[in-house]
Structure formats: C-alpha cells, structure tokens
Symmetry: C2
Subunit: 195 residues, 2 copies
DNA sequence: GTTTGTATACCTACTAGAAGGTAGGTAAAG
DNA sequence: CTTTACCTACCTTCTAGTAGGTATACAAAC
C-alpha cells in the first residue's frame, strides 16, 4: 500500500515535470514509464487514462495550493508580506528550476484543446487563486497596508496576470532573474508606505 | 504561382489557429489538411517538415509585427496613445476571437519542449517586442507623457508580462472582457496626467 | 498452521489508430 | 520539357489503451 502511494506519487511528479515543460500533448505514458522506471501498462493500473492522470494531478495541485495558502495566511498575517512571500515562493521555484512554470498556467494556455475534465480543474485553480488574491487585497486595503486605485478584484486580477506573464518572460528569455525583477517592484507599488 | 501562395498562406493560417488553440503538439498535418481541403502530402510540398512550417509561421509573425509596429509609430506618435492602441488591438483580437492568444506567447510557454529552430524564432519575437516597448517607454518618459518609478526596460517588461498574463486570464475565465479590464487601468497608470 | 480467496502492483505482449514523412505519379502552366 | 501543385499509396514510429499473466501480501476458513 505504501509502495503504491509512492509509485503513483512518482508518476504524478513525473507527469507534472513533463507538463510544465511541454503541456498536455508534450509527453506520453512511455516518457513517464522511462523516468519512473516502470512499464507503460503499470501507469494504466494507477491512472486508467491520460485524462484521469492529468485531472488528478491538477486537482491535487489545487488542493495543495489551498492548504499552502491557508497555512501562509496564519504564519504571515500582513497582506503586503503575504504578497511578497507568494512572489518569493515562485521566484525560488523558477530560480532553482524545481518548478519553472505553474502547471495550471501552462494548461490554461492550451485550454481550448484540453479534455473537458481537465479544463474544469484548471478553471477551478484560477478561480481559487483569484479569489484568494482578492481577499488579500481587500484585507490589505482595510488595514491600510496596501494602496491601489481600482477595486480589490481588479488589483488581484492584474497582480495574477503579472505573475503569470513574468513566468512566461523568464522562460522566453531563459533568465529566471527577470521574474523577481518584475515582481519585487510590482509588490512594492502596492505598499501604502513611502511611494 | 498565385495559387501556391494562396494555399501556403491558408496552411499557415490554419496552423496558426491550431497552435493558438493547443500549442505545437496540439495539431497534426492531418488536422490542417482537413481544414484547408487538401491532402497531408500536399502540405509537405509547401513545408517539408512540421518544424519548417512552424518556424516559417513564427518568423512571418515577427516580421509582420515589426512592420505593424513601425506603421503604428508613424500614425500614432504619442507614446501613451501607442500603448493604448497596442492594448486595444489585442483586446479586439481576443473579443472577436480572431486571435484569442498570441501565437508566440503560447509557444514560449512550451519552450523547453520546442524544436530548437522554432525556439530561436520565439525568443527573437520576445526580444523584439521587449525592445520596442522599452523604446516607447523611454520616449514617453522623455516627452513627459509617461511616468513610472523604475527604468524604461523594467516598465516595458512589466507591461509585456501583464499583457500576456491578461490573455491567459481571459482564456482561463472564458471571459474576453477581463483583458481590457486589466489593460485599461494598467495603461492609465503609466500616464503622467491626472493620477 | 496450512489452505484458500482476494486485492494490489507490477509485468509481457498486443491492438488499432494517428503521427510525421516518403515514393512516385498526374495534370496543368509557362 | 521543366516546374509547380497536387494526388494516391505507403512506411515507420509512436500513441493511448487492453488482455491476460505472475508474484506478493493479507486475510478469513478449515
């Protein structure tokens, strides 16, 4: 049983890496089998179809993100510090190449060609992230630690867009540092202090 | 000859639509053949390999973008209006679904899995767009029509990231309006007037 | 405490179809 | 009579997915 969980986790981790590199159609069961060290048919034992595999992967990713965010909120109460920590988390993932792109952002880019079951999960991730950021923006404005012109919703959407776009630029330039170069001033601009 | 050009243009247009929907591995020669109304082998007559086809497509896209931008600069001299027009162009493409995503942005997202010949062209597009936006930012600051804290380069990178991220959000939400909702205030924020 | 049943985790071997690509032919235009 | 634009027919490799087998573990039944 513990062996099962290990292998299925290895399959999910391998699939995540492949998707982050090349999207839904950028990998095959044979690729994963080669990396994990099992046979193609064994992957079908854990995940009957490719759709099952990727749907599970995205659902788990969203659930883990939800837990991480709740965790972060309790540890880092200040909304500005929260945004800094969030941006810093991605900066680290990109810089050490452990997760050079958000798996959901990549899948979202090919959303029209995605199996519907996967598309649903991807949209759910975006909705969660957007609502979480909106909450943070709202709280920051209330506490007077964040300052912006539009609504909290709009500011959250703009922030999320900048994060995803900065990931893309880091990849296009082959320069991880550009992510932090964009995000640090973007977070700073939201600060109510100095200016 | 004119018949040839027409067909090869149809092939490129079809390939562009497929890539915009699902990326490099999201379509096949059979898909294009079906859409254009010719046989698979005929595509190989115009483009010997898939790499040739996509490399040509991206190269043409960059060249046309370069011409369009030069054109735009002569018609719209004001840097702020230039940014507004650029954002408005994409807003229109997304809203009428004629080009709901930038083909180079999509390919950039799967850059690590792309054939090197294609990757080179995609990076060239990003470098061009970045340098063009930097030029616009620089000129805008000189003329006193644009105002920002960091360097023109950084502001250009941030703007480009926001554009690409806003495209992604529009796609993820299935809501074209979110692009304009993000971009209009983003451009406005760069204006030296009012605030 | 063997035996028997059942589930898990993997395997080899296979299938049908789709992938990119080739060989070689035809019809028309210059 | 050569080039262009297209075709049919084919090839090889890869694709997701299936069928059916084996080894192991952990039970309950005798």
């Amino acid at each position: 049983m513990s062996n099962l969980v290990m292998t299925s986790d290895q399959i999910l981790a391998s699939a995540r890496n492949f998707i982050v590199a090349g999207g839904y159609n950028g990998f095959s069961y044979a690729d994963i089998a080669g990396e994990v060290g099992i046979r193609k048919a064994s992957i079908h034992h854990h995940f009957p179809s490719k759709v099952d595999l990727v749907r599970t992967l995205v659902a788990h990713h969203r659930e883990r993100t939800e837990v991480s965010m709740a965790d972060l909120e309790s540890k880092v109460p200040d909304p500005l510090a929260l945004l800094r920590t969030y941006a810093g988390y991605w900066a680290k993932c990109i810089e050490d190449a452990s997760m050079p792109f958000c798996v959901c952002a990549l899948l979202a880019s090919e959303l029209p060609a995605l199996p519907p079951e996967v598309a649903v999960e991807v949209r759910a991730y975006f909705r969660f992230l957007s609502s979480w950021l909106t909450k943070v923006m709202h709280r920051g404005a209330e506490q007077g630690v964040l300052k912006f012109v539009g609504s909290a919703e709009l500011e959250a959407e703009t922030f999320m867009a900048t994060v995803h776009g900065a990931m893309l630029s880091a990849r296009a330039y082959g320069n991880p540092a550009i992510f932090d170069a964009i995000l640090t001033p973007t977070v700073q601009r939201l600060s109510a202090k100095v200016h």
